[in-house]
């Protein structure tokens, strides 16, 4: 493989939360490159810093120190508005709790990123419809979140994340609130999207979910403990363990 510029790149990334005189090192010097087209699963025990990393990659939060680049652009050099545009155009975010607007129906929820778009996005209604059809909800467009099952709500959220054709899809425990069968549906959908060229980063606790990914990264105490793309790193960290699953 020739050396190409990673689509997501982190160097010595740290996030420290200060609560009174207590310091929590949620991220502690993380170096990470993710290339276009990868399907990455991020795993690790609770509190290991997975969400903290995801929020930084999603341009929702700023690191305490270190630098990160998306598409080669350093986020530290971008203004609030530029970050908003990056979230709108390049990133699609899927949350564990779906985060749909309760008063708006599926169609309106999916349209929202397109309506905030500053560049020309073409026919907004047609695109929103297309995305809902892609996630298999073409017939539920006028349903409000309350009138949809959890899996359906998460699919609306995915359609919303997709609507503005992002190159990166970020999902923080997207199946955390769903049962096994729905989880499989959602992960299949993500896999399809990945095959279509979208870079996918998923946080999960479940090995089955991680199994859909082409690369698994394990976190512990704010550091990368193992990375299936860099087996050396893993061996260096924990020589005795077999590759693959952690429990």
């Amino acid at each position: 493989m020739t050396e190409v510029r990673p689509i997501i790149s982190c160097r010595n990334l740290s996030k420290i939360y200060r609560m009174g005189d207590q310091e929590v090192r949620a991220l502690d010097g993380v170096d990470l490159d993710i290339h276009a087209g990868e399907f990455v699963a991020i795993m690790g025990p609770s509190g290991s810093g997975k969400s903290s990393l995801m929020n930084l990659i999603g341009a929702l939060d700023r690191p305490t120190s270190g630098e990160m680049w998306i598409n080669g652009r350093a986020l530290s050099e971008m203004s609030r508005d530029e970050l908003a545009d990056l979230r709108n155009e390049t990133l699609g975010f899927v949350f564990q709790q779906f985060n749909l607007l309760a008063r708006q129906d599926a169609f309106q929820n999916v349209r929202l990123p397109l309506r905030y778009a500053r560049k020309d996005v073409g026919d907004i209604d047609a695109r929103a419809k297309e995305c809902l059809e892609l996630v298999g909800l073409g017939t539920r467009m006028d349903h409000r979140p309350m009138q949809l099952s959890g899996g359906q709500q998460q699919r609306v959220a995915i359609a919303r994340a997709l609507s503005n054709r992002p190159s990166i899809l970020l999902a923080d425990e997207p199946t955390g609130a769903l049962d096994t069968r729905t989880t499989d549906e959602i992960m299949h959908l993500m896999q399809d999207l990945n095959r279509q060229g979208i870079t996918v980063v998923v946080i999960t606790h479940e090995n089955e979910v991680a199994g859909y990914a082409s690369r698994q990264i394990h976190f512990r105490d704010g550091r990368i403990e193992s990375d299936s793309a860099q087996p050396d790193l893993k061996r260096a960290a924990e020589p005795g363990q077999a590759a693959g699953g952690r429990t």
Partner: protein
Amino acid sequence: MKVGVATSSATEALFSNPMRSLLTMLGIIIGVASVMVMMSIGEGAKAQIEAQISSVGANVLNLQPGNMNRGGRNQGGGSGRPFAESDVAAIGELPFVVAATGVLSQQANAVSEEANWVTNIQGGDAGFFEVNNWRVSEGREFTAQEVQGGAAVAVLGKTAAANLFPGGRAIGERIRVNSVPIEIIGILEPKGQSGGGGMGMDRDDTMIAPLSMVRNRITGGNRWVSRHVSRIQLLVQDGYDVMQAQEEVTALMRERRKISPGDSDNFAVVNFADMIKQRAAAAETMSMLLAFTAAVSLIVGGVGVMNIMLVSVTERTREIGLRMAIGARGGDILLQFLFEAIALCTLGGLIGMALGWGGVFAYAQIANAPMMVSPVIIATALGAAASVGVIFGFFPARRAAQLDPIQALRHD
């Protein structure tokens, strides 16, 4: 900034909690309603005063006996020594006087074949009609000869005519006043109310008759002044300075009433137009005061709006975070909440306007005043409401716009 998303989100928020929106709007509703009532009452009074000035005539001077202060407010109530017909004649001689008339008036009971009616009987000279710019619409005015001869004739004001002759035909008929038979020879054109706000008298409820006849047969003479008149009215030539005329008339009367140079006048020369203008200025001050009150209630309403908007921003922090996460800029969020505040206030303004309209209508009915709701008033009332929205909505909207995306998303 994306105006479309902002407006639709704002209106949606407004109607999602109608009761709260309505309560929040209350201050604005009351403020706008009072702005509207105040302005239209003020404008109505102004129009009425203007009409009065034109009906009285700007260059008519009135002489009344008794002391008056410089402001023109009557203090002695006309209690001083009356004028005489010779005074009227002398004034009539002044080069700038077009016409002059003495006036004697009294409330009296008039009796026609059909009805009984108490009205204001005014004795005047033949010049009365010209000085007062008050002409007959039917019949004729009495002549100088009739005044001299003390003819028992009279001209009726519209209201008096209607009450004495409900049947309609008045001219040529006879009435009796204090058992004096008087022939009706004319009907005056209507003049309407005097005094602002419907509190004045109906100027058409009157009867004008030759001065000498009224003195001799109705009011009776005066103990100290023979051939007396209680007031003198004169019409100043067009283009002649009314102030100058006022001074010359005062000088003439001081001489005729033998007032020593150091002593103050025992009569007053009044320009009614000036008095009305002064009253208009007073009315203006009053409506300014009321407008200030209205402004205060708008500000109180605005603070209420600001308060509820701050609550709304707090309640919807997660929603704001989500919108930011999918690409809304700070400006988009700012606009959304600003629009919400403006919509809240404008809607309140519309309701207040409907209410104010009702108030103006009721006032017009009660006070019998003209209803004045001009586009300027509507624009002012709505503009005031919208500005309150902008001013008091800005702070909460900016607070929403400055939220940190991740903190907003984590908010519960």
